[in-house]
């Protein structure tokens, strides 16, 4: 069992005492690259221990708890997801899926140094493929970021799919 890497990757480190807009942009592009390259241990190290990854099912959904979401996962579940992807008997990943993110310039909606909270909104196109199939999702990712030990970390990543209420086949990797 591979343990979660506590040390975040270099792109998550901030130069000064507080993150700049460029730090935030570097972080978001760096995160997407880790997902595209399947570097999941480094990706898990980007999150705070109490973080969640949320993908609502309904447009404008406000509650992750008492109605269904596509995903609302804590670090235990994300780690399980990562371990499963490389499992010897994970037949839905034989052969493996691949994914590809194209980000547009992230908006920085909140720069609250005092509260140590930074909120970005990033429109992106997400492509996932396996065997002869490929699909495209247009999504908006909202990140609630915080600085811990000199590096940016994700507290909440919320991914809204523009057609979240459509019927989907398997979505096996993560936008």
């Amino acid at each position: 069992m591979t343990a979660t890497v506590a040390e975040p990757p270099a792109f998550a480190r901030i130069a000064g005492a507080q993150p700049s807009q460029e730090d935030l942009h570097d972080f978001l592009y760096g995160e997407a690259r880790l997902l595209d390259e399947g570097r999941y241990d480094e990706w898990l190290a980007l999150f705070t221990p109490d973080a969640h990854y949320w993908m609502p099912l309904d447009w404008g959904q406000t509650d992750p708890r008492l109605v269904t979401s596509l995903l609302y996962e804590d670090m235990f579940m994300l780690r399980l997801r990562v371990e499963r992807l490389r499992g010897a008997r994970t037949f839905s990943q034989k052969p493996k899926s691949r994914c590809h993110h194209v980000l547009s310039r992230p908006f920085v909606d909140l720069m609250d140094h005092e509260a140590n909270l930074y909120r970005t909104v990033t429109p992106m196109h997400y492509v996932e493929t396996r065997l002869d199939d490929q699909f495209l999702l247009a999504v908006t990712a909202r990140h609630d970021l915080t600085v811990a030990e000199g590096a940016l970390r994700i507290r909440l990543k919320r991914v809204d799919i523009v057609n979240c209420d459509a019927a989907f086949g398997n979505i096996q990797l993560l936008p």
Binding site: R65, L66, T68, L71, E83, T90, F91, S92
Partner: protein, 449 residues
């Protein structure tokens, strides 16, 4: 494939359809053949009672939802007198769908957006613009003047609305019989005896035949194999984690870990079959038996039902109950899945969750978690299953073999259309479904309809 290229082998040939089902195996055409699919839509889905929706989706007069029974587009709507009606979603004038949103409120009447014919919420024709143009044309005698066509029969059972498309056929109580005990148990788990739909359903597209999904609901020999990757990995991570001794399992672990239970667990949990293709796993216990108690719930149940009755209700932990042909409920976690047939090789799975009215929110929290961990297009357990269905659908195209085996724990004298309880790894419920399949397919084929 266009209709013209289909060789007509089964239409008007009830003996040929009956021959697809043998005691221990079924012919692959039941999964792959577009003509069989058409006949299922015309006969099976007309003669059986199919779940349409829950009346909490239409709390006020004029509230409606749109859905399908087999391939038939329908509306479920609450009329001004409080009655629920199920109507074909087709303007009797030119065929336009009356509503296309998943749910809405139409007020006192439906108005077709094409030519403004309007209909009461019980389907009756209300008004036609420039009506004098029909004077003397005999419109009163036409189909169009009858309004929105109702389905054959509707029954609202404790909030769960079922419909039969065929105007004549088996009655609701005769069709479900003792199988309604699973629905009763799910509803009785509310201290107020009432459920409410909580939010929209998951919608998961499967490139396989709808029956593969229904069979999977009582397939107890697959979890330890197909779900080793998700549930097995969850158990391994949990066991390897450094944690204080006696630390309770997180809710997600309680939900997912039982999928990794060994064969012995599933053998002893038991399977019950009922007439007309219904049945359930988890007679004696199930993967839902060991969830942690939710604070305040027992007290609310005792206050509502008394201690003995509360214990009896909560002591029942049925796993999956199949309501033939295409519905499954999980009473202990208030979840319903509907397997909507789209084509021989395409199925839309809707997974609905319910709030137990009067119970603590934490129960609904677990239900919502179960739904996203097990039934979502983004769920690991869902990925495990879909992979198997789609591989099966592709494998069945092989002409090397023609039959699919359903023989596990088959006994020589196995009776059809009876109630029985068996070892939890039997495939008897699959056989039970195919016996019902033949019965309700042939019911109208033999009358030459």
């Amino acid at each position: 494939m266009t209709a013209a290229t289909i060789t007509r082998r089964y239409t008007g040939n009830p003996a040929g359809v009956a021959a697809l089902i043998r005691p221990a195996e079924v012919h692959r055409d039941v999964y792959t053949d577009p003509e069989i699919f058409e006949l299922e839509m015309r006969h099976l889905f007309a003669n059986t009672w199919v779940w349409v929706g829950h009346d909490s989706q239409c709390p006020r007069p004029g509230d409606y939802i749109t859905t399908q029974i087999g391939s038939q587009p329908v509306l479920m709507v609450r009329h001004s007198d409080g009655q629920i009606h199920v109507l074909h979603n087709r303007c009797p004038h030119k065929g336009t769908k009356i509503a296309i949103d998943a749910a809405g409120n139409t007020g006192k009447f439906f108005r077709c957006p094409y030519h403004a014919w309007s209909f009461r919420t019980d389907g009756c024709l209300l008004a036609i613009p420039l009506r004098k143009g029909y004077e003397g044309t005999g419109l009163e005698g036409s189909e169009a003047a009858q309004g929105l066509k109702p389905v054959g029969a509707v029954h609202n059972y404790r909030g769960f609305v079922f419909a039969r498309l065929a105007p004549r056929g088996i009655g609701f109580e005769d069709y479900f019989g003792a199988a309604l005990s699973s629905l009763d148990n799910m509803v009785d788990r509310s201290p107020e005896g009432r459920l409410e739909v909580a939010g929209p359903p998951l919608r998961y597209l499967h490139r396989c035949n709808w029956k593969m999904l229904v069979e999977n609901q009582t397939d107890t020999c697959h979890p330890m194999v197909a779900h080793e990757s998700s549930a097995g990995t969850a158990v391994r991570i949990w066991e390897s984690m450094e944690k204080p001794p006696g630390m309770p399992k997180p809710m997600a672990m309680e939900v997912i870990a039982p999928f990794a239970s060994p064969y012995e667990f599933f053998e002893t949990m038991g399977i019950r079959v009922w007439p007309n293709g219904h049945g359930h796993t988890g007679v004696h216990r199930s993967i839902h038996s060991d969830y942690s108690a939710v604070p305040g719930y027992w007290e609310a149940m005792v206050a509502a039902h008394g201690e003995d009755r509360a214990r009896a209700i909560l002591g029942e932990n049925r796993h999956n109950t199949v309501y033939f042909p295409n519905c499954m409920i999980k009473g202990p976690i208030q979840l319903l899945r509907l397997f909507k047939p789209l084509a021989a090789d395409r199925t839309l799975v809707e997974s609905w969750i319910f709030r137990l009215v009067g119970a603590p929110d934490m129960l609904l929290e677990r239900t919502a978690m179960y739904n996203r961990l097990i039934n979502a297009p983004t769920s690991m357990v869902g990925h495990d299953d879909l992979e198997m269905y789609e591989r099966a659908q592709e494998g069945l195209m092989s002409d090397g073999l023609q039959w699919v085996n359903v023989q596990r724990l088959l006994s020589e004298d196995e009776a059809e259309d009876v109630e029985a309880v068996e070892n939890g790894t039997t495939e008897r419920q699959m056989r039970n479904q195919f016996a019902a399949w033949r019965k309700f397919m042939l019911m109208s084929m033999e009358q030459g309809q």
